[in-house]
């Protein structure tokens, strides 16, 4: 593949986005986009297979090689275009491509690629947080089905999800990592109850989910029965890749005002420098950390492609990413002072309230998907191979 043809491809993608994407949508990750306009854009994107450009065409992707898929993603990012980054696209899809049967791929991947089905993740339980493998939700075989009883927690978007990919215990007598099965089943059925959890940031995007005789089809087990732990860990790697490498650092990219602008406005400038030298140091360190994280993830990917990778960087990326996004909000709060303490208008403007909320929301980033402490354990054990 010549670089000239790649450039032509980039041009083609650019022109298509320019012609198709309405101006009101070119604003990055936001929840308040005009609904109808967004729906039309997403279906146009899906039509081309560009929600998942690297997936095979038969499963709703565009069948692009890595370089072309990266071009699509970078052009979309350059336009700050809305895309789909749900659990289906970023986690279940890649996992099914690797572990799913042909029938499972045909059944589940195309709806994900068209953004028609919302998925949620049934991993954590009240007694199984960092020690995920101690999960107790039971699945008992009954004919062609499994009957599921138990409780999940921290299930994001469970109240809007159509389906769940869930870790269940199929063999309570096996060693704890061996009795686990990865299974898919619908959320909208009598044995499933969703109870939203209100969090410290005032939001309720997470839920507790109760299973009391919920039904799953046996053909919807992904990977071997009792072999779910391997599938589950692989899926978590996709989760870490998604977050550690996201260019704008998730929530921090969606802010109405950049951190640098906020700090300049609040702290003030004297002779071309921030008036507070300590905050200036922290802001510079934060900008450098964000950049270094991006470079490190890019380097890890490039080294993996070139066969030069020595030590896996996934857990380190998640750890540093979580610390980085929290630090950004800590700096914003220092700069805002008591104007960062508002809970609602009046008295506090949009830019202030979004920072207060982000400061609270980002506390979770070092907890979910493996806490910071778990990531450090993983680095020590798996990456550095220090005996336990």
């Amino acid at each position: 593949m010549s670089s000239a043809s790649l450039e032509e491809f980039r041009e083609e993608v650019h022109v298509w986005i320019e012609q198709t994407l309405p101006a009101e949508l070119r604003v990055g990750l936001r929840k308040d986009l005009p609904k109808e306009s967004r729906r039309r854009w997403i279906s146009a994107l899906a039509e081309r297979g560009w929600i998942v450009p690297d997936w095979p065409v038969e499963y709703g992707g565009a069948g692009l090689d890595r370089k072309r898929a990266a071009i699509v993603k970078s052009e979309l990012a350059a336009f700050r275009a809305p895309t789909i980054r749900g659990f289906g696209v970023s986690m279940l899809g890649p996992t099914l491509l690797e572990f799913g049967t042909d029938e499972q791929k045909r059944e589940f991947l195309p709806p994900i690629a068209r953004d028609e089905v919302q998925w949620c993740q049934g991993y954590s339980e009240p007694g199984a947080g960092s020690d995920l493998a101690s999960l107790q939700t039971r699945a008992v075989r009954e004919g062609d089905e499994y009957v599921i009883t138990g409780q999940k927690i921290w299930t994001s978007y469970a109240h809007v999800a159509d389906w769940i990919f869930c870790l269940v215990r199929t063999d309570p007598d096996a060693p704890k990592h061996d009795g686990i099965t990865f299974i898919l089943f619908p959320m909208k059925q009598p044995g499933v109850t969703v109870s939203p959890l209100k969090l410290i940031d005032g939001g309720a995007d997470f839920s507790q989910v109760f299973f009391d005789g919920a039904r799953a089809q046996a053909k919807h087990v992904v990977g071997p029965v009792g072999g779910g732990w391997t599938v589950a860990k692989r899926l978590l790697q996709h989760e870490r890749t998604t977050d550690g490498s996201s260019e704008e650092g998730g929530i921090t990219g969606a802010m109405k005002e950049s951190l640098v602008d906020l700090v300049k406005r609040e702290v003030g400038m004297e002779d071309g420098a921030l008036a507070d030298p300590t905050i200036r140091q922290r802001l510079a360190a934060q900008e450098m950390e964000k950049r270094a994280l991006g470079l490190t993830m890019a380097r890890a990917m490039a080294e993996a492609r070139a066969g030069q990778a020595t030590r896996d960087i996934g857990s380190l990326g998640k750890y540093r990413w979580a610390s980085m996004v929290k630090n950004e909000q800590d700096i914003a709060m220092l700069a805002l002072g008591t104007q960062g303490l508002g809970w609602s208008a009046p008295g506090f403007d949009e830019r202030e309230l979004e920072r207060t909320k982000a400061w609270l929301t980002t506390r979770a980033d070092s907890i979910w998907g493996g806490t910071n402490e778990v990531q450090l354990n993983v680095i020590a054990k798996r990456v550095l191979q220090i005996p336990e």
Binding site: R280, L283, A284, M288, E303, R311, A380, L384
Partner: protein
């Protein structure tokens, strides 16, 4: 942006690694230190590196260089850092050599650089007048004297100044100390009348000099760059030197980290390997993070030079701020995790600790470079 090594760079790395393992184990640096060797490094080894083309990596073929990039130079510097080789890359190539390359006219380049590339001419840069790095805080003055200039003042921390053949000297021709404008760079011969050089020993076993200029006369043909606008050259020299020094530091990080990691896996206390303690496991993970992030920003900075990007200054400061932090982190943890044995002169980890501190404080620490980065970013 070259974040990975090319095939050629991998070959160069393997060559350099075997070269240094064979000819320059860490023990050699200790021997040079303890014997109070008058040079402080090996002239012979330096010339061998010249023959291999390593000294000439960043210089054009027209002056005997290999005309390669900082990606390649970084590979060699990292290998130097791994074994603490004290050969004069920083003084002769990164500082003095870059000053001649970036500021010298053709006759000066042709006169000086071919010998530099062969390892037969040593250079240094005399800029420091204070302890903390402050590149424009220069009071050493140069006044017009006929066709030339007369220099008076005193410089410190002139790296390898005791053996340099020429000392590129930063002097003030206008303005006051701290002003960026009004600086001029001169090539001063080591045997010039009025020049006195006093060798000083450093904590890392290397050498710098105190250099006194007592009305040293220099011809106008020995000026690098433009009169009063020497900072244009100097700042670019510091950016490249900083990035090169960071590459050396990454090699030192790697080795200090691997040695400490190996110690955690073998040292036993309370009947178990000390690496089983979570307090140490997490800190080892942090060291790994420091090393990996340093490696990324240094590779990016190297490619900023090699690709002719406009953000070399930002990248240099991002790299040195990072490497200075990591030098502190890995250096301190290496000693702490080695425990009592780490405090002994006999255990080599202390040599790494001392070199890392020296490199941290050379060409600006983390605080300096965060401030500079902020300024470049408009805040």
């Amino acid at each position: 942006m070259a974040l990975t090594l090319t095939e050629d760079q991998l070959i160069l790395r393997d060559m350099a690694r075997s070269f240094f393992d064979e000819k320059s184990p860490v023990e050699r640096m200790r021997t040079l230190r303890d014997s109070r060797d008058t040079t402080g490094f090996s002239h012979e080894l330096w010339k061998e590196m010249g023959k291999l083309g390593w000294i000439g990596i960043p210089f054009p073929e027209a002056v005997g260089g290999a005309e390669l990039g900082y990606g390649e130079l970084g590979v060699v510097l990292s290998e130097c850092g791994r074994v603490l080789a004290p050969e004069p890359f920083v003084s002769t190539v990164l500082l003095g050599g870059n000053a001649v390359l970036l500021g010298g006219n053709e006759p000066l380049q042709k006169e000086l650089l071919p010998d530099v590339c062969r390892g037969e001419r040593l250079l240094s840069l005399a800029f420091h007048e204070h302890g903390r790095f402050a590149p424009h805080a220069v009071e050493t003055g140069a006044t017009r004297d006929g066709d030339g200039f007369r220099i008076r003042g005193e410089k410190r921390f002139v790296l390898d100044g005791h053996v340099a053949d020429q000392i590129v000297t930063v002097a003030r021709t206008a303005g006051g100390s701290g002003d960026r404008a009004g600086l001029t760079l001169f090539v001063v011969d080591a045997d010039a009348a009025g020049l006195s050089v006093q060798r000083t020993e450093l904590v890392d076993g290397r050498n710098a000099a105190r250099v006194t200029f007592d009305d040293v006369t220099v011809d106008a043909t020995r000026v690098l760059g433009e009169i009063d606008r020497g900072a244009d050259v100097l700042d670019a020299v510091f950016d490249r030197a900083t990035i090169g020094l960071c590459a050396e530091m990454v090699g030192t990080f790697e080795e200090a980290f691997e040695r400490t990691l190996a110690y955690l896996k073998t040292r036993e206390q309370f009947g178990v390997k000390i690496g089983t303690f979570q307090a140490l496991r997490h800190r080892a993970a942090h060291m790994f993070g420091g090393l990996e992030f340093a490696r990324s920003v240094v590779r990016d900075a190297q490619s900023a030079i090699d690709d002719g990007r406009g953000d070399v200054a930002e990248c240099a400061s991002a790299a040195k701020a990072r490497c200075s932090e990591v030098a502190n982190q890995i250096g301190a943890e290496a000693i702490q995790m080695h425990g009592g044995i780490g405090m002994t002169d006999e255990e080599e980890i202390g040599l790494f600790f001392k070199r890392l501190k020296a490199a941290e404080l050379t060409l600006g620490d983390a605080i300096y470079h965060r401030n500079r980065f902020a300024g470049l970013r408009g805040y």
